[in-house]
Symmetry: C2
């Protein structure tokens, strides 16, 4: 005899497919959901479907949006001469939280990672190149992919691809995080921070 | 301008209501869901609703089930003279995993916890008493509530309530976990283990 009824087993298995949700967490979530009022479960299920069906990719920047072009791309008050290239939509949210950047974005939806079977065609590089070719406004592309081997490789590849078009390509700085101790910095970060030192 | 479209904001807020899902995890889950194929999101949403709507409480043991009485209560091969009282349906799954216990269960759906506003009427105690009064089969009630202040208080209360009916009431043992070091045991566990010592 199975330990769970078929519908509960199915729910646990579906929840377990979400990132960061192991079998134990899936069980805990499932039992919480079974104990929730039915309207609340319906609200959650509807929120899932509504978000998924009403969300598309902005034709310009490839960010998730429910209007196309997205509010950022269609905002005349933003600086349309600068494009910040990020790995995923969460990064746009992070940058926007900073309230310091007023340019546009381009979301790659991944990073070049041959070890994980993510080739250059799997991420939105072609869309970026087409965008740069069709619009003549762009003066600078800031590459803000993560400071990982894959992020660095993608940044390097993009720089080589875009620079010949006469567009300025920059990379966000890496270095010691604010408030951190030199003593606890890893070697790569420290070496990067030394290379990127600047005069007072 | 909000950082997220309304449907995405709604999804993040609904996911954030689940236990153990903070705002950051809710964001991560939401963006994962937006990137999932639409059929998979539908499967997940359907699994939520199906599990919730097809699951009810077994009229006998109060465990979640999609048939009433549940497969355990209606299994003639189980020992119907023993009832193990647990706090929640997860505990039944845990006990069943052990494959050592062949009696029935009674799920309280909580534990007496006045500090958290859970009174004696909020948990399935009345159902247990009615069950013991209507069926004459029960010879032993094993109380397997957690080894917490609330679990102990509930166990004590149940014992006082059931014993006068001439039914044997036992409590699962507390003591040092197998494979653990005496050195790292907390005082309460150690004192319980000493009290419950047995002869070779």
């Amino acid at each position: 005899m199975s330990r769970y009824s078929p519908s509960v087993a199915k729910l646990i298995s579906e929840l377990g497919k979400l990132p960061g949700v192991g079998h134990k967490s899936a069980q805990r979530l499932a039992f919480h959901i079974l104990a929730m009022p039915e309207e609340e479960v319906k609200t959650l299920a509807d929120a899932l479907m509504t978000a998924r069906t009403s969300t598309k990719l902005c034709a310009i920047c490839q960010n998730f949006t429910d209007q196309d072009p997205c509010p950022i791309c269609s905002d005349p008050k933003r600086d349309h001469s600068t494009i910040c290239v990020v790995e995923n939509p969460r990064d746009v949210a992070t940058m926007e939280r900073m309230r310091d950047y007023n340019g546009l974005y381009h979301v790659l939806h991944g990073v070049y990672s041959p070890l994980n079977n993510v080739g250059l065609d799997e991420i939105k590089i072609r869309e970026l190149i087409t965008r740069l070719q069709t619009s003549t406004e762009t003066k600078e592309v800031i590459i803000a992919t993560n400071q990982t081997a894959e992020g660095e490789a993608t940044a390097m590849y993009l720089a080589r691809l875009i620079k010949p078009a006469g567009i300025k390509v920059t990379r966000i700085a890496s270095g010691l995080p604010m408030g951190s101790d030199l003593e606890y910095a890893d070697d790569v970060t420290l070496s990067k921070a030394m290379q990127a030192r600047h005069e007072f």
